[in-house]
């Protein structure tokens, strides 16, 4: 690991620890309104001030970090599991199954990612509870974000399919399920990890985009995306630069994830 990667790993660990300890560190519940001090500047009581509704910005940032940093890896895990299952199965069995999986992948890859999410989001109710909106965002990204990974995993599984040890396992009567579970999946495990790590920054950015557009995590639940919704008014931002903290945190986390990955994977 290069020194810069060590620094990135340390920063990510620190932010994750902060996220876990958020409940203990919160100065106030994220939804609590101090109605007498809306848009307050930073002070000892409110380190990042308050928002237009008088809610403590630091509490919202810490809770929003927890939402975004739990949502993105959870969605990445779901997407990677789907991709691992479909890609390994298609690569191992080949034939019509491989053709169908790859055709479905090509079809969904022909759509820009945000268009696909918008179509699915339009099918679902918009006026939902904040927690339900978090679940919807997680499921949408998890269930629709497997296409790029599936191609890579399928190609690697195809390589394993032609290997000697798999031929030996097949000749000793191993069933496809056992072949998949005991032989193909362990050999592709490093690839699954890489695909999982690649998906996390992508999903963090997607959640931010969706929430800024009003289609992701709903108020009053904070997330990095909906904390940045107020950035449209730049005159307020220039007067209150501390409101940019969610953006700084997001950029730092995404850059750290990029640094942790080998360069050729980042550019995929």
């Amino acid at each position: 690991m290069k020194p810069l990667q060590k620094v990135a790993a340390f920063i990510l660990c620190a932010i994750f620890v902060l996220m876990v300890l958020a409940t203990l560190l919160l100065p106030a519940p994220y939804f609590h309104q101090y109605r007498d001090i809306p848009n307050a500047a930073p002070s000892a009581a409110h380190l990042l001030g308050t928002d237009a509704l008088g809610r403590d910005s630091l509490s919202r940032l810490l809770y929003g970090t927890r939402v975004s940093l739990l949502l993105a890896p959870a969605a990445a895990l779901l997407a990677t599991l789907i991709a691992a299952f479909l890609g390994s199965l298609a690569g191992l069995l080949g034939g019509w199954l491989e053709r169908i999986v790859l055709a479905a992948t090509d079809l969904s890859l022909s759509l820009p990612w945000l268009f696909l999410l918008l179509v699915v989001r339009a099918m679902l109710p918009l006026e939902v509870l904040p927690l339900v909106s978090v679940v919807i965002a997680f499921l949408m990204m998890g269930l629709l974000g497997w296409q790029t990974s599936v191609r890579v995993i399928c190609a690697a599984a195809r390589g394993v399919r032609d290997s000697d040890f798999l031929l030996l396992a097949r000749s000793s009567g191993c069933k496809p399920a056992r072949l998949l579970w005991r032989h193909v999946a362990p050999n592709l495990r490093p690839l699954f990890y890489v695909q999982f790590f690649i998906s996390i920054p992508l999903f963090i950015l997607t959640e931010a985009n969706l929430s800024i557009l009003g289609l992701g995590v709903m108020e009053p639940m904070p997330s990095w995306g909906n904390l940045m919704r107020g950035f449209e008014d730049f005159s307020t931002l220039s007067a209150n630069p501390w409101r940019l903290v969610p953006l700084f945190l997001l950029v730092i986390v995404v850059m750290c994830f990029q640094l942790l990955l080998p360069q050729q994977e980042v550019t995929q």
Binding site: L114, V119, E232, L250, V251
Partner: protein
């Protein structure tokens, strides 16, 4: 003879691509029809809930709607209408989808083409300068800048564009540029490190001759494939950018349709975008094959 065979092969591939495009369009149309029909609450017209309407009027209203027909009849009507260019009517804007697409597609097309042009120019230029200089400082600063741009959500770039009053295509270029730069740089580095390029350099060939005769033919197929992919990236970036910059394009239309749950509109917009994407990818693929054929 070989030339004729090559042209025939290329023609066959182009025909195959066109056939696949048509099949995918049909599959996409059927999927769109399914989504429109089965979207929750989509079969209920607001007028049906109006208490001032008499039951027989509500029934007549339902009869008018294709949504209450059987599934095969519904598909047939949908495809027949589609064949005549009728994409239905937007529920939120109360205007034909075809008319909306005709107005909005050129706006997005112009922004996307402008943004892609600018992003490609900047990425190629910077990558070439980086390779020519091979300086540590230049490499580190461009990598850091690129990484910063990659970490910005496109919606934040859009808000920055609103603040700085830059055109929409510039915002699209900022989103697309970092993705192109990393790939083009890696590709050029790999091509310049090939033994025959080193040999050409050792023989004293000029840098422009090396680039045009040895590096470009190696990198061209991958660059052309990247052109297809960059279309998808820029169309994806167009949604938040057009929505937040108030540019009346397809991205803004899709966003408005999603916010008002206008399923027929968003499904048809997506279908059109998918077809544009597929056509762009097929074109890039064919161009790559032609280039490889000519170079070999």
């Amino acid at each position: 003879m070989i030339e004729v065979k090559k042209s025939t092969n290329l023609f066959r591939i182009a025909l195959g691509r066109l056939l696949v495009l048509l099949c995918l369009a049909l599959a996409g149309a059927l999927m769109s029809a399914t989504l429109v029909r089965f979207a929750p609450g989509n079969s209920v017209s607001e007028r049906e809930l109006d208490p001032r309407w008499r039951p027989d009027s509500v029934e007549a209203l339902r009869q008018q709607q294709a949504l209450h027909q059987g599934l095969p009849a519904y598909y047939f009507h949908y495809l027949a209408a589609l064949a005549h260019g009728d994409l239905g009517e937007s529920e939120s804007l109360r205007r034909p989808v075809r008319e909306l697409l005709r107005q909005r597609l050129p706006v997005t097309g112009n922004s996307v083409v402008g943004g892609l042009g600018l992003a490609w120019l900047a990425a190629t230029l910077l990558a070439s300068i980086g390779i020519a200089s091979r300086g540590w400082l230049f490499e580190a600063s461009t990598t850091a800048f690129n990484s910063l741009l990659l970490s910005l959500p496109s919606a934040v770039v859009a808000m920055l564009a609103v603040h700085l009053r830059t055109p929409v295509f510039c915002a699209i270029a900022i989103v697309v540029f970092p993705r192109l730069y990393s790939y083009i740089r890696n590709l050029l580095v790999r091509s310049y490190d090939q033994p025959h390029v080193l040999a050409a350099r050792a023989r004293g060939l000029g840098s422009s001759a090396i680039f045009l005769r040895h590096v470009l033919p190696l990198a061209a197929p991958a660059l052309l494939a990247l052109l297809g992919v960059s279309f998808a990236i820029s169309f994806g970036a167009a949604i938040p950018i057009e929505a937040l910059c108030d540019s009346p394009g397809l991205g803004q239309l899709a966003w408005q349709a999603a916010l008002s749950r206008d399923v027929p509109l968003i499904v048809n917009v997506t279908l059109v975008v998918a077809l544009v994407m597929l056509a762009a990818n097929s074109f890039a693929d064919l161009a790559g094959r032609t280039f490889v054929g000519n170079a070999s």
